[in-house]
Structure formats: C-alpha cells, structure tokens
Amino acid sequence: MKYLDEYKDPKLAAQLSRQIYKITTKPWVIMEVCGGQTHAIVKFGIDTLLPDKIELVHGPGCPVCVTPLEMIDRALAIAARHDVIFCSFGDMLRVPGTGGDLLSVKAQGGDVRIVYSPLDALKIAQDNPKKEIVFFAVGFETTAPANAMAVYQARERGLHNFSLLVSHVLVPPAMEAILSSKNNRVQGFLAAGHVCTVMGYREYSPIAAKYKVPIVVTGFEPLDILQGIAMCVEQLEEGQYDVENQYARSVRAEGNVYAQDLITKVFCVTPRKWRGIGEIPQSGFSLTPQYRDYDAELKFNLGDIKTQESRDCLSGLILQGVKKPHECPAFAVTCTPEHPLGATMVSSEGACSAYYRYKR
C-alpha cells in the first residue's frame, strides 16, 4: 500500500540496522514517547535489529494507559445511566475501573457505543434528541482537534444533549516530568509524530536545551523508527541535543495551525492527573468557560468517587520507562489481557499488552 509498504522494506531496514551498529560506541537509553511506536517496535521486532548497547524504554504516550482511574470510574457511572448513550473509542472499553469496565456496564444494560470519530457521536446526538450523548474525550494533542470540532459544532447547531467527558493530556509536560525525576534513565527521545503533526515541534526545543537530550520527531512505520533511532544515536554519540524531524512527510515545524486555533477556542491548559504517575502541572486540556455547558463532569453531578488501584500493578513505573513489563511480578501471572490489573495491559498501545502479545 502506498505510503505504508515502502516503510516496511526489509532491505532498507537491514541497511539502517547496520548503520546503527556502525555508529554506536557507548550504551544509550532512548525512550519512544508514543504507544503506537512501542507497539510497532515490538510487533515488527525492531528492537531485535539493534545493538545490545541501545536500550529502548517505553514512554507514557498511550492515552488509554494514562487516563486516571477516577476518570474511568466517572465514565462507568455516567454510562450506567438510563438517559445516556455513552460513546467512546474502542480501546477504552476494556480498561478496568474500580468496579468493572465499560464493556461490563454495556452487558448490564448501559447503552455504550464504539465510535471512530467524535463527530459520529454528534450525529447520534442529533438522531436521539431525548437522550444525553456523552463522548469520552481521551487522548493526546492528536485527538484534541476532532474533539474540539465536535463541541464547536454542537454549539453551532444548538445541540444541548451532547457533552464531553474530557481527559486530555499533553506530551511535553510528561517528557519534562520524566526528565526531572530522580529515577530518570532516558538520554534521548523519539517524539510522537502524530502529536507533532498537530502541534509542530517548536515547543520541544526548550526541553532539549534544558535537559541536554536529543529529541527526534519520529513516525510509526518500521523504517521511520529505525531512522529515528539512527538520528538520535548520532546526536548522542556526538554530544549534541537538537530537535530533529524524521517524520518530515507529515510534520512541519509550526504544525497544523488551523487545528491549533480550534483547540485554543474550545480547550484551555490545566493540571491533569496521569494514571500511575500522578498530577503533572499544565499537562492537559479542559473545556474553556465558554463551553462549560458541554462538560459532562459538570452536567452529571457525580459527587466524590473513591478509587482503588491494584497494589500489584507497576504500570506507573513502566509508563515512566523505569521498569519493563516483564520485570513486573504480576506480568502474565495474575495480570493478563483477559484479567488486566492496569491499563497498560489493556490498550493495543500499552507496553504490557505489546509484550504479552509478542514477546512472551
């Protein structure tokens, strides 16, 4: 397939692998930020093409994984209401909350629907004027424009039975949180190509300069990732710490300014809690006061939610790149995709799920 097959070419992959072997003289720890990259690395066996000196650690860029337990529990409470049609992206449905997941709410009679785009949820709102339609707005900067567009259009069309349960998070503050942690081992980053397609990469330059780490904006196909690693290793070996763009076929320095305009109309930056990591200042989006009528948290007064995380789950350390999934005693023993203890075992982009599927 055009624009996909070219980036899976085994000869070019072998060539890039040889190049990385040639330039690597010291051990380096590189973090791929995005869960989609983690998945591709493990699925295509990219890590097996690298010298032992290069260690890839998996970052927090899986939106399903970092959505806090309280938010999942709020989703479960809203979805269980008889007057609600709860719409979500598919991979949120199996994420365990304190008392079950969205699939079990559906089994007990809740109207929970998978949609591919928040605009599909808007159509459901239009078709079901007597129901409240709630869309679970989860994700990084990548999904923010479409979610913003849904609210924007709901307002334009005068639809009042539509709201978002917002749990949006931002990549740069999470990278800073990892770099400033005393446990940090990360020496270079592969930044998330799709996030940068929306936001551009200018905001990464101060991070690269402050923490002296190279950051390479990287795509998601095997050759993208190998090339991103090669560019990152080259900088590390030469003691440089610049922001470079491997994913130039999709990413411009300024990003998608139209999408950014829409985001700033609808969302404002706010502190957010990250599952397994804790609260990070200025690390997420919430709806601006102008759009507060579309905020499901305000619309459905849910009161206090008491949550209980599994004591055996190490997903917080895994999301920060401190531990690998197979270093968790619960991995593949008490924690499996059928009975996940944490979200990293659920999402197709979660590191534990990727290791369970491809690396046991």
Binding site: K8, G90, S117, F140, P222, E338
Partner: protein, 346 residues
C-alpha cells in the same frame, strides 16, 4: 429466483407476529406458504417431527452453528448466505461432502415479513450454489425487544469419502501451509456498515461455500493433513488452534499473507491487524511439502482460489506456538486474540 413471488400473504401480515411461532394456523401458513415453497415440496407422507435420510457412505460428519450477525444484510451477503456457507464450510474442513442442512429460525416479533422473505430466498440460493438441501427446520418467535430481528441456526451432515483423518493431530513437521486468498474482507465489510464507524469501502464479504474447492483437492489425491476455515479471530486464531491441536510450531511469513489494499487501509486507520479480522470464504490447508505445488495449482485454478498462495510451514519443534516473520525480517509470536479487536484512539 430473484423475481420469485412469495405465496405467503405478506400484505395481510407485513410483520412477524408471536402467533407465527405459536404452533397454530398462522405458523402452519408461514411454513407451508413460505418455507416449504422455497425449500422443497412437502413430503407425500406429510410434514413430520423428523426427516429420515439415506446416506450413501458409512462415515458422516455432523456440525452445527448459530448466526447472529448485525446488520442482517451487508455487502457480499446476508445472514442467510452466512448460515448456509458457515455450516457447509465447517463440514468441508473435515473433508466431508455436505449434503443436508437443518434450519432453525428465532424470529423477533415485528420483523418485517419482506426481510424474512429476502433471507429465505437467499438461503435457498446459497443452498443451491453449495449443492445442499434444507431437509428439516424449526421456527420460534420471541417478543419484540428480545431478539435482534432474526437469529438462524443451521446443522449439517456430510459424508466423508477421503482417507485419513483431516484433523490438527495429523499435521506433520515440514507441511506447507496454503491459503485460498486474501484475508479480512468479511470483517471489514461488516464493520463498514455498522453505525458509528463511518468509513467507506467497496470491499465485499468473501462469504462463499468451500465444498467444491476442497473436493477438487481431495479428488486430485492431495494428502490433506488439516484444514481450517478462517472465521472469527481470523487467520491468527486458526493457526494458533492448529498449533495447539497438533503440538507443533508453525511459522508464517507476514509479507506472504495476501491482504487487499482497502482492507489494509481500513485496518491501518482503525488500528486492527488483518490477521485477526474475520473471513467467511477463506481457508488454510496443510499438505506435505512435496504436494504443495500441485495443491496450489488446483486452488489457483478454482474461482475461489485465484489469490491462493503459500504462507508458511510447520517446523520440527514440538512447542505449540505460531511464529511470525515480520515484514522487516524479525521474528515474533503471533498470539491468539483476547476478546474482540477494538478500534484504537489514534
């Protein structure tokens, strides 16, 4: 057959009523004016509680399957074609020649009689195409809201004329694994029609009866060790089931598994792996390496095998796993899926 007029008075009963499953006159009318009209004349001895069959061989294969697909009609087929082909294919995978099917309907009160009529005709058309007869049936009606329009169960009987059991335990180290075409069409065709996943493709379901293409292999004397039709769970699940049933290691080359460009695109957008997406007219066959070229030639010469190719082999090791050689040449485990594949966020 498409212009066949329904002798059942649809204008009088535009929707299925509870009484159509109640055992009285309305049910009798539905059976006589719609079902026996389409599936064959009432026997001279009258309708009875069971059918007596004369089977031309002592070894028979017997299977059953239930069909609950939504939507009922999709590009390339409908619940009726699935109900016939699904059971025909399950019989074929044991090397059996399918002969007779039963047909059980669970109808929801309020189902449009026109829809039922369309499905009944489509069942007959699929049965004719597969060369099987519907010889017995049952109809129940459940209250409105307690069903999804229509559920169908079919059971089937076929005769086994080939030697050697065609089962996972017969798989041998060194066997070649062949497939009759590209994977993932049915699942993507269904997904494209469901509410909430608004994307457009021209992909049609691959739903088809596999008995003829399988019989060509058997008639040509191909020593078939195992076959499996790829339904829910797709190619990956079928391979894992056979690896477990045979206690053998299977190796697959990802680049050799055919995937239609539109299926690959839809999967890339939705975050699905085509190896796990459902099919209804694809199967894999395990044959000795020496017979693989001939078997491939037979498959490719059939209308349902034009895209046939070799996708892997059985290794000498006795660990029941499937190893996938990825596009870039690295190896990993191809596991069974847990639950359903769910479209991802970004």
């Amino acid at each position: 057959m498409d212009t066949w007029n329904c002798p059942f008075p649809i204008q009088q009963y535009p929707c299925v009523l509870l009484a159509h499953g109640g055992g009285g006159k309305l049910m009798q009318q539905l059976i006589e004016k719609m079902f026996t009209e389409v599936f064959g004349p009432k026997p001279a001895s009258g309708l009875h509680d069971s059918t007596v069959l004369n089977l031309p061989a002592p070894r028979i294969a017997f299977t059953t399957d239930s069909f609950v697909v939504s939507p009922l009609f999709f590009p390339g087929g409908d619940i009726g074609t699935l109900a016939v082909n699904g059971t025909v294919n399950d019989l074929s995978m044991s090397g059996a020649r399918p002969l007779y099917l039963s047909l059980g309907f669970i109808l929801e009160e309020g189902l449009s009689m026109d829809i039922l009529w369309r499905i009944v005709r489509s069942i007959r058309k699929a049965a004719d195409a597969a060369g099987v007869k519907i010889v017995t049936g049952d109809t129940k009606v459940v209250e409105r809201g307690k069903g999804d329009g229509i559920y169908i169960n079919t059971s089937g009987i076929g005769i086994v004329e080939c030697e050697g059991p065609i089962v996972p335990a017969s798989v041998q180290a060194g066997d070649a694994i062949l497939i009759n075409g590209d994977v993932g069409r049915h699942g993507i065709a269904i997904m494209a029609t469901r509410e909430g996943l608004d994307f457009q493709t021209t992909i049609e379901s691959d739903c088809a009866p596999l008995n003829d293409i399988v019989s060509r292999l058997i008639q040509a004397g191909i020593e078939i060790h195992c076959m499996r039709d790829l339904t829910r769970g797709g190619l990956a699940s079928a391979l894992n089931e056979i690896a477990q049933g045979s206690s053998k290691t299977i190796q697959i080359d990802e680049a050799s598994v055919p995937v239609h460009q539109q299926v690959a695109s839809a999967c890339a957008i939705l975050g699905l792996d085509p190896l796990y997406v459902a099919n209804e007219g694809r199967f894999i066959v395990f044959v000795p390496e020496t017979q693989a070229p001939k078997a491939l030639e037979i498959l490719q010469s059939h209308a349902l095998g034009q895209g046939a190719c070799r996708i892997g082999k059985v290794l000498g090791e006795c660990k029941p796993v499937v190893i996938l050689k990825s596009f870039i040449g690295a190896s990993r485990i191809l596991d069974m899926i847990s639950g359903e594949q769910l479209p991802r966020i970004c």
